[in-house]
Symmetry: C2
Subunit: 326 residues, 2 copies
DNA sequence: TTGAAAGCGCTAACAA
DNA sequence: TTGTTAGCGCTTTCAA
């Protein structure tokens, strides 16, 4: 691959002039610029970003580390991050930690080693990974899951309040035995949503089940709950992938959505209105989370001394048929 | 951030020894290795990947450039690529070209400049971008959409045959006026699926409509088709995002799925069995496409002289209720 | 087994 | 306005 010296030789100038010409430094003779451009073109010259970044001590690349590429919530975040980053001239690379602390760790190492300009991350747990980044001076913004207070920027949704509101909605709709299907212990969003459910339930009897944040998990949890003595007549589901399994379990049991068992699920999904009755959801502003995270990250890259901020966005309960008896 | 010289100074050895110790070169005195390790640990040393890669002229990073992160088909490919890459010690960074040739171009530039080891791409068109990569000697594997014959590795699905089979299935199920909703002209998969539809239709009257590969596109196309003189009584839909719009339009018109209008859509989606009747789909082996692409890419990175291959995987028609009158 | 030194490709002082 | 030169942090000969 052609290097800057090849171009310099061909254009009959020094490498410094090539660098200046190609980077649009104004002090270069237009005639030379043209010659350099031509030479670069002829050689198919592509600047070596590694060398450039090594020299400049910076990269125009952001890393986005999320826990599940197949979850529409996270891909919507990705678009938000990307749109903002692009307009600022940054590229975004997406890394899938797959809810595994080890993979997350590996991607953090990569981010550190490749010296990305900043990282947006949905941390699998509160400490280890993010602190590595912070400790090395890499700007970080956490999304979806919190950091230890004051350690870094974060943009979150008040899951607990949303879960509480959703549960209250179910109660208000006349369901008597509201249950909750949530994710694994330690996954902060799963814990928060369960807590919100409990908040709303007060002294009523709890019917809760944890499982992995996937369809199979939702299905298993639902079956288990249904097999109990006084099975739930409504369910708060903490995640849209789980919701698929929940709905399948319900159907397998011959239970009618809404009429027999009310359901509210976290995350608005494109297919929510296609099922019958349509699914009531807690819609998180995923795109906006990503966009805001990117804005904060860019601001911090520009000025590392900014105080850490915590932004909380509101989720919105979208009532549809699945949470009504009628 | 600590550099290798900092570590060397602290351990009282040369930078060469640090490099050797940390990279597990066997000729280093175990005592020294321990000292170096300790020093690195104390300083929180993270090797600078930029410098290392610059020197080694290689990176253990693959780029995956896809046209829509929000499409489950592509995210499934991403997992396939990632799983294979990980076991070979490579990291994968995902870039979202968003069906835009310009964004694709920008990510290709980034890939080139960052000197990634290889690229898996779903090319927006056949030439420009991929040829830049090939021209600079970067190993490339195309997925989902073809390259010009013989230019590089590709792993595809025979969309045309699958579309034909799906259309024939609809015809065999007794639908008389089968229509087709497909993506924009020039998007290869959209064209292929339309071609397959036409293959099956033979001399029957065509009812086809193009729109963007999104729900809104599917909805608009369906409305337009339905507004015609002899509206279709069945639809082949070329993409799962469009399918959402198609189903919505049908419902808005009061048409019952299957009974009034039969539907087969490309790509198996998690919610296919949740709607009533469940959706008949053409399931593409997305994960396997990604995994195979990664295998081919790795092979080509190891040996650049390999002849270009073209792998074609089969799609599978999964018959469910939406394509039957009963 | 270890160290000295060159150099990957680029940019930025400094000189001219 | 242009060129010369140093050096970003690392790996890898070549000597010792």
């Amino acid at each position: 691959m052609a290097t800057i010296s090849d171009v310099a030789r061909r254009a009959g100038v020094s490498t410094a002039t090539v660098s200046r010409a190609l980077n649009g430094v104004s002090t270069v003779d237009p005639a030379l610029v043209a010659r350099v451009r031509a030479a670069a073109e002829e050689l198919g010259y592509q600047p070596n970003g590694l060398a450039r970044n090594l020299r400049r001590q910076e990269t125009a690349v952001l890393a986005l580390i999320i826990s599940d590429v197949e979850n529409p919530f996270f891909t919507a975040i990705a678009r938000g991050v990307e749109d903002v980053a692009q307009t600022a001239g940054y590229s975004v690379v997406l890394c899938n930690s797959d809810e595994s602390a080890e993979k997350e760790r590996r991607y953090i190492d990569v981010a550190l080693q490749e010296r990305v300009a900043g990282v947006v991350i949905s941390p699998t747990d509160e400490w280890a990974g993010v602190e590595m980044l912070l400790g090395r001076g890499t700007p970080v913004v956490a999304v979806d899951r919190p950091l230890r207070a004051g350690t870094g920027d974060q943009v979150l949704v008040d899951s607990r309040a949303a879960a509480r509101a959703a549960t209250e909605h179910l109660l208000a709709a006349g369901y008597q035995r509201v249950g909750c299907v949530t994710g694994p212990e330690g996954v902060r969003t799963a814990d928060d949503r369960l807590a919100g459910y409990r908040d709303a339930l007060g002294r009523r009897k709890r019917r809760e089940r944890r499982a992995e944040y996937r369809a199979a998990g939702g299905e298993a949890a639902t079956r288990a709950l249904l097999a109990g003595a006084e099975p739930p007549d409504a369910l708060l589901v903490a995640n849209s992938a789980m919701a698929i399994g929940v709905l399948e379990a319900l159907r397998a049991e011959g239970l009618r959505l809404g009429r027999d068992v009310g359901v509210v699920a976290f995350d608005d999904v494109p297919w929510a209105t296609l099922i019958d009755p349509p699914l009531t959801v807690v819609a998180q502003p995923a795109y906006e989370i990503g966009a805001e995270a990117a804005r904060l990250l860019l601001a911090r890259i520009a000025d590392g001394s900014l105080p850490p901020t915590a932004t909380t966005l509101e989720a919105q309960l979208i009532e549809r048929g699945s949470s009504h008896r009628a």
